[in-house]
């Protein structure tokens, strides 16, 4: 086995590490801690955060990549890049059907010619295969597995609750109830899913017979990456230019304002389309840059993040400029200047910490919009690589299936439901964070 560190993995881990460091810093700064405590006391905020952490865990598992060692002499590795999540979901990944099958089905979705029997729905290779000939037990088997799963989920939920007791004692003022209720609901949903997934395709299969549950779980990483890396990429430029423009004034301010006004006046979708088209040409004309197709898809994902970042930093930059203009005239900044503190130090010690709330609000507010944008862009054909599993590519391949009779509804539904949960959690969390950090709302 050989570990592979894709660029997006590296940046994603960097981001998580950055988040941890930021958390440690925020613990030490009183006004940061007060604001985060407000988030922690909000039940909605904690429940949404729990959901987001669960999504993040899936994405992190999916970000540890490796190439399997091939059997035989010498150092040879498989071309295919797998992740830990792939390994955990091996049963889902390695049991493809021929084509569409409905959720929990035992028979294929389409009729086929079967030798000796005429046209009929053929049995699935894996879905419900353990039933053998006893198809009448299908319903009872599903019910049994659901019951087992619920039992397991309840036990797991209870265990989590017990494990969380010390946490509650240490920080009794936080809304732990919401966290554990959310975790309990998650366990009660995940338990039956896991039990059923061992014998069936819980969410059906897609056109080429891949398990839809597997596809949706893999999509989470793409969505989270686009939602977070885009902000990470644009953040340094937005902060630096925004604060500089506000503090320095004069021609520097003029140049920076001109820069973001110009970028801002190009309609976002069109700028993204133009940039993505150019990136496609570049990637296609330089195939020698990438050794595996996973690397190429990864490069495309990162480039998409960079392009989205390029178009979305202007808003934050303008906000920061305005705030810095205000802060520059305040007494404590003037006092620092009078005492002979250097400009660089004023910017990092006195201005930056005091515009941090704007940055945090921007990060959490942008996230949900970016996840939604990925789906739309991939649909239009200027999103991620068509081979990258994402909500957008899932919807794109599934949308023609609605025209079939009877309808193939499950892959669309699965993609939309997962996306809805992710975006709803992000939106709710963003609201709570904004309420906690916005000084205008503070009372």
């Amino acid at each position: 086995m050989k570990f592979v560190l894709l660029w997006s993995d590296f940046l994603f881990f960097l981001l998580v590490a950055g988040g941890v460091i930021f958390g440690l810093w925020a613990r030490r700064v009183e006004h940061q801690r007060a604001a985060w405590r407000k988030v922690g006391q909000s039940r909605v905020g904690m429940a949404a955060a729990t959901v987001l952490v669960l999504f993040l865990a899936v994405a992190l598992l999916d970000s540890v990549h490796y190439r399997e060692r091939l059997p035989g002499e010498g150092e040879h590795y498989a071309v295919e890049v797998r992740s830990v999540l792939d390994a955990l979901l091996t049963p889902l990944r390695t049991r493809p059907e021929k084509t569409y099958s409905a959720p929990l089905a035992t028979h294929s979705f389409a009729k086929e010619n079967i030798a000796g029997e005429g046209r009929d729905f053929p049995r699935l290779k894996f879905g419900g295969a353990h039933l053998g000939e006893a198809l009448s037990r299908h319903g009872a088997d599903i019910a049994l597995r659901c019951a087992q799963g619920l039992g397991l989920g309840a036990v797991a939920g209870l265990a989590l609750w017990l494990a969380g007791l010390p946490l509650r004692r240490r920080a009794p003022h936080l809304a732990w109830d919401a966290v554990f209720v959310t975790l309990g609901v998650f366990c009660l949903i995940a338990g039956p899913l896991a039990m059923l997934a061992q014998g069936y395709h819980v969410l059906g299969t897609d056109k080429v017979g891949q398990d839809v549950l597997y596809l949706t779980l893999k999509s989470i990483r793409t969505g989270l990456l686009i939602g977070t890396l885009t902000t990470l990429i644009m953040l340094p430029a937005a902060i630096f230019l925004g604060i500089l423009a506000g503090y320095a004034g004069g021609w520097i301010d003029d140049v920076i304002q001109y820069l973001y006004t110009t970028l801002n006046s190009i309609p976002g979708v069109l700028l993204i389309a133009a940039a993505v088209l150019m990136m496609q040409v570049m990637i296609d004309t330089h195939p020698q840059w990438f050794s595996t197709s996973a690397e190429r898809a990864d490069a495309r994902l990162l480039a998409l993040c960079a392009i989205l970042g390029l178009t979305s930093w202007t808003g934050l930059c303008r906000l920061l400029r305005g705030e810095t203009l205000k802060l520059r005239e305040l007494e404590y900044v003037q006092a620092a200047r009078a005492l002979g503190v250097s400009s660089g130090r004023i910017l990092t010690r006195h201005i930056l910490p005091n515009v941090m709330h704007l940055v945090i609000i921007a990060i959490v507010m942008d996230f949900s919009g970016l996840v939604l944008a990925e789906a739309v862009l991939s649909y239009v054909g200027i999103g991620v690589d068509p081979n990258t599993i994402s909500f957008g590519t899932m919807i794109n391949t599934a949308r023609m299936e609605l025209a079939r009779e009877p309808m193939v509804w499950w892959s669309l539904t699965a993609a939309f439901v997962f996306m809805f949960v992710l975006v709803l959690a992000a939106n709710l969390f963003a609201d709570v964070v904004r309420d906690a950090f916005d000084p205008r709302l503070a009372r």
Partner: protein, 325 residues
């Protein structure tokens, strides 16, 4: 006022030049015309002669900025930058890579785009403001809370879901309207209804919530207390005082969009087969027709700048205290 407008229009020139330079850099410096030719011709047909022919047919065979071979002013004008970028200022967009005249296509496709975009804009604004006013009227009650929850849920649903779901339910199951297409004159109405309703619905959550916060901010002001103290009914307070004073932030968000309505909506037009500028852009993106994308970027930016100007003018109408100078 006039002097202000002229000054603002002059400000627009450097911004448009900047847009031009950015798109030029994107389309001709990041990738050379040779790369584009190779892309368009496909792997099989790439020979040096074919590339030269492709470039010559579309006028990409000239130097980028400085044509040493030409004479006089031709040194500057017979270049890609002049012919493909600067000529856009004279609204000369040239031909698409498939040979059709871009300006003619735009004129033809503007109508269908507007036929969808204008009703969406007007109805969307009306629906969002009425919904927000309703929530503010019942503020701090369970109705308000439920409304906000509904807004957040609605804005968490992908716009693709609204479109696919609406198309499936209304057109396929209920057979109320055709799934997609477009007709001439009044017969277009039956094709337009569904896209309009879906777009309004898809945008309602986010905008209603946004207007609600604006109204709530306004409602804590002193003049509202005065109005109530002198005995005005809550409805009069909301419509005559709060709504009028909240006009400035509403106009800031809305007026800037008006010129851009010409561009249509990419998604809606693509899904419903409306032959507008949005679907033109999507077709160009899918066919990798760079000339069209370049033209659309330029027009889009110009319309946006026009929108900013209109916003300023609308302020003076909404609030007599504001004078532009």
């Amino acid at each position: 006022m006039l002097a202000y407008l002229i000054r603002r229009l002059l400000y627009a020139v450097p911004i448009l030049i900047g847009v031009n330079v950015i798109t030029f850099a994107l389309f001709f410096v990041v990738n050379t015309p040779d790369d584009m030719a190779r892309m368009q011709l496909g792997v099989k047909h790439v020979t040096p002669e074919a590339i030269e022919k492709w470039k010559a047919e579309r006028g990409y065979d000239k130097p980028l900025f400085w044509n040493a071979a030409a004479s006089g002013a031709g040194k500057l004008t017979e270049t890609i930058f002049f012919e493909k970028s600067l000529k856009m200022f004279a609204l000369d967009f040239g031909r698409a890579d498939d040979g059709r005249d871009i300006a003619r296509e735009i004129r033809q496709r503007m109508g269908p785009s507007l036929a969808v975009a204008v009703p969406v804009f007007v109805l969307g604004l009306f629906a969002a403001i009425s919904f927000a006013l309703l929530l503010v009227y019942f503020r701090a009650t369970y109705l308000d809370f439920a409304g906000v929850v509904l807004c957040v849920a609605m804005m968490s649903v992908s716009s693709l879901f609204y479109i696919i779901g609406g198309q499936w339910l209304v057109a396929k199951v209920w057979h109320l309207v055709p799934i997609s297409g477009y007709g001439e004159g009044l017969s277009a109405a039956k094709f337009i209804v569904l896209p309009v309703v879906i777009s309004v619905l898809a945008g309602l959550g986010a905008s209603a919530r946004w207007y609600r916060t604006i109204f709530l901010e306004e409602i804590t002001r002193d003049y509202v207390r005065t109005a109530r103290a002198k005995g005005l009914s809550e409805r009069l307070v909301l419509f005559r005082h709060v709504l009028r004073n909240a006009l400035i932030p509403i106009l800031t968000g809305a007026v800037v969009l008006i010129p851009s309505l010409f561009m249509g909506s990419l998604l809606i037009e693509a899904f419903f087969g409306i032959p507008g500028l949005g679907s033109y852009t999507i077709e160009a993106i899918n066919a990798q027709d760079f000339a069209v994308v370049r033209a659309m970027v330029f027009i889009g930016s110009a319309l946006y700048i026009l929108g900013l100007l209109l916003t300023d003018i609308s302020y003076t109408i909404a609030d007599p205290r504001i004078r532009l100078q």
